[in-house]
Symmetry: C2
Subunit: 473 residues, 2 copies
């Protein structure tokens, strides 16, 4: 079997209509949205049902052809991109877009892998429920990709990661058999919890085709504040102050360094600074409640008053009205785009325990400045989960290529520091291609050995999304 | 190596003080608290550290001796009991009782496997936090057992099972190597999430020696009501009514059939009926809030008023004061003990989707009455999670032995019905010895094959808690 034979094989399996082989048609499947990753493929196949997915996987297995499952193609680590050989098959789930059911009594939704995250949020809302996963790419990322990468985002503080939101899965195994684990049960202790293997495995152990997800009572009131902070320590202290007063109504807590906000103010149309003074750090704090008229503004103001008293907060604004709320979130969510105007962005997505954040930021910033004086550090993220996006821009006016050439060295600086605080070098983006080798230096050998054992158990020939997650041998 | 050689081997490994070999000393380790399970052992070994656990496991592996990990010995399915051969070694974690740390900023607690659940609750409370796992045996069950069985209980509705509360694990693998996965991270997507393998595996894949667990903001106000209901459908409708009004302040929702309450009223000192009329079902509804003075009584009363209007509730009492709250919980928690006075109890612990509860109860009750006319059905449980304890007592005045002889047949009736509603035959008790064979009839072969593959991967000689969870070959 050569790459040239693959289209004929797949045509037999799922028919001409589900197959793309011309370069123009395959284009959007072979480059990601940022143009950061690209690959080649013998074909892109778009099965319309679980049975068709299984047939494709079986056919490819028999022919010894590798399969690369792909969702919304919004991943940041190249996890759904084929290699450059042109011998792999991209299995896109984009035709599996059916919401199989929403049950507001069970508080569950059953969705196929290709359903866009926002559609799930909307289907839940239509039944008076909340699906709490929320990320920047929610208008284009898909449930299958969210599951494969155990997606995080801004709702994790209160509702957990995608793994925590998953009750059941349907998976096509690497040998083409279908595992129907689509259970809608809140409790089930009848042996090993197999679905946990597939969540976060980035398609290396099988193709997730559908899931039963948890819903929650709808949120009916919110309060949002923008807070100026003297330091990362103040950010951590502010979490404590707000939580002591507001308990688990605290559902969002994002931080941004001044450098991050500067870039947004410079490049985002209409963005404006909320305060007369410049502050080194900012927090976006969100309270929410499932009751309407829950008095959240007053609660948040009381929390901020306490924060001023303790000199944790330097200045603050509680948003009045949805336009101001949107403006505050735009400041936070505009960082990634704004950074692109300043040259190449080197991105790192790390977690450390929340209490370690202040020492971690201090040590990492110092080490980065030592490695490249003048480097601009764009740190922001979900500090309530200990998760920072530790992104880097070149010193102002310096050369792009020279900065890009330092990518590996600078990543080492961030990861070594993360590791010294018992942190994770990939909080929510996964390993994909980009971190599969570097992880070998930060994870103990026993853990890698167990991972390899599981891979071999489920995929002995190694044809399911090869070259991802597991370090090269 | 014979059973007689085992004590000498372990004496060399951990010393005389950690070893029990006399029958009197071993007694409490070889019978469970209900006297439902018993076994024999070559020795009971009580290591005092993770390294000692590893040394014991290594020594036993080398000698070809099976190891049975044991926590508080409160399990209901015989999962921590050795077989009757006298050749197995019980590895008790009861000397590993150290709380290694509590961090109210990270909202984490790190506890060794032998720490009693209540001690973890108390250590969290001392720091102004909540550890939400709560079960009947919390004064004697241990964290290791809670993890091994993925324990549930009354807090799952809001806070999830033990799996959901776990951030990191330390595990001695079946070959005696120590896996240090004690991470305190809220987000970590760097490969397969190995800790998920060990949670709920009932000690068949290794010995959990310590864990990092999630804490939550402390609960500062509560409201509790006892509600009379015309039917299981009314119970499900009541959840909807209360949730629509109170959102995620609804943190407990237990139901009991009249038969369950009757037994408590008959056998529990001081128990009294709350209502003049007899009702077929009752619910215990709890709201809680992390704010003090959160107006929960008023909210609960408004919910109940709505329930009366819709004829969902027949009668209700909102508890005033902690004594009445305790009395209501005593009615609920006294069921299991009260049932013992009525002869043998055949216990079943099942889940179905919440919306299926009414049809499930009707079909199961009818089938049970057909199988044994006059059978007394003691149904109660955590209906908010779809979890019912479907327990059975003999027809009044009939023979104990005849009833016991029907145990298998009656279990089949309950499990067949559960299965027909896509439910689970073990919601929160695990499989242990008692359900390891019956599960083969209710779980698909592919899932059992994957479970066996994982077992072989981690424990090729099958010496780690053999005879549990996995069906006999």
């Amino acid at each position: 079997m050569t790459a040239a034979d693959v289209p004929a094989l797949l045509r037999e399996t799922v028919g001409e209509g589900a197959l793309i082989t011309d370069p123009a048609g395959m284009g959007s499947y072979l480059t990601d949205w940022r143009n950061a990753w690209s690959g080649a493929a013998a074909a892109v196949v778009r099965p319309g049902s679980t049975e068709e997915v299984a047939a494709v996987v079986r056919a490819c297995r028999t022919a010894g052809v590798a399969v690369v499952p792909q969702g919304g193609n919004t991943g940041l680590c190249g996890g759904s991109m084929p290699d450059s050989s042109g011998r792999q098959v991209v299995l896109s789930l984009d035709r599996m877009r059916r919401i199989r059911g929403v049950d507001p009594v069970d508080l569950t939704i059953t969705a196929e892998a290709g359903v866009v995250l926002r559609s799930v949020q909307q289907a839940a809302a239509a039944e008076g429920c909340l699906f709490p996963l929320s990320l920047g790419s929610e208008a284009s990322c898909t449930i299958g990709g969210n599951l494969a990468t155990n997606a995080g985002g801004t709702g994790v503080l209160r509702y957990g990661n995608m793994r925590d939101l998953t009750l059941g899965l349907e998976v096509v195994l690497p040998d083409g058999r279908i595992w129907n684990g689509l259970r809608a049960l809140r409790k089930d202790n009848t042996g090993y919890d197999l679905k946990q293997l597939f969540v976060g495995a980035e398609g290396t152990l099988g193709v997730i085709t559908a899931a039963v997800l948890k819903l929650f009572p709808a949120v009916r009131s919110r309060a949002t504040a923008w807070v100026a902070l003297p330091s990362p320590q103040a950010a951590v202290d502010l979490i404590g102050v707000v939580r002591a007063l507001c308990g688990d109504r605290l559902t969002g807590f994002e931080v941004m360094s001044r450098q991050s906000v500067d870039f947004v103010l410079r490049h985002q149309a209409g963005a404006r600074d909320l305060f007369a003074d410049v502050h080194p750090w900012y927090a976006l704090v969100e309270l929410s409640d499932t009751l309407p008229d829950a008095g959240l503004d007053g609660l948040l103001e009381a929390g901020l008053a306490e924060a001023f008293e303790r000199e944790v907060a330097a200045d603050a604004v509680v948003a009045s009205g949805s336009a101001q709320v949107a403006a505050l979130w735009a400041l936070r969510e505009g960082i990634s785009e704004a950074q692109n105007f300043e040259g190449p962005s080197l991105k790192h997505d790390v977690t450390v325990p929340v209490s370690s954040i202040p020492a971690f930021v201090e040590r990492t910033d110092r080490a980065l400045q030592a490695a490249l004086p003048g480097i601009r550090i764009v740190t922001y993220g979900h500090i309530g989960d200990g998760n920072l996006h530790y992104n880097l821009s070149k010193p102002a006016g310096s050369d792009d290529a020279a900065f890009r050439a330092m990518a590996g060295e600078l990543a080492r600086v961030v990861y070594d520091s993360t590791s010294s605080f018992d942190g994770s070098i990939s909080a929510e983006h996964g390993l994909g291609q980009s971190k599969r080798d570097v992880i070998a230096d930060y994870k103990d050998g026993l853990e890698l050995e167990l991972m390899r054992g599981i891979k071999r158990l489920l995929d002995p020939p190694g044809l399911m999304n090869p070259g991802k997650v597991l370090p090269s041998a």
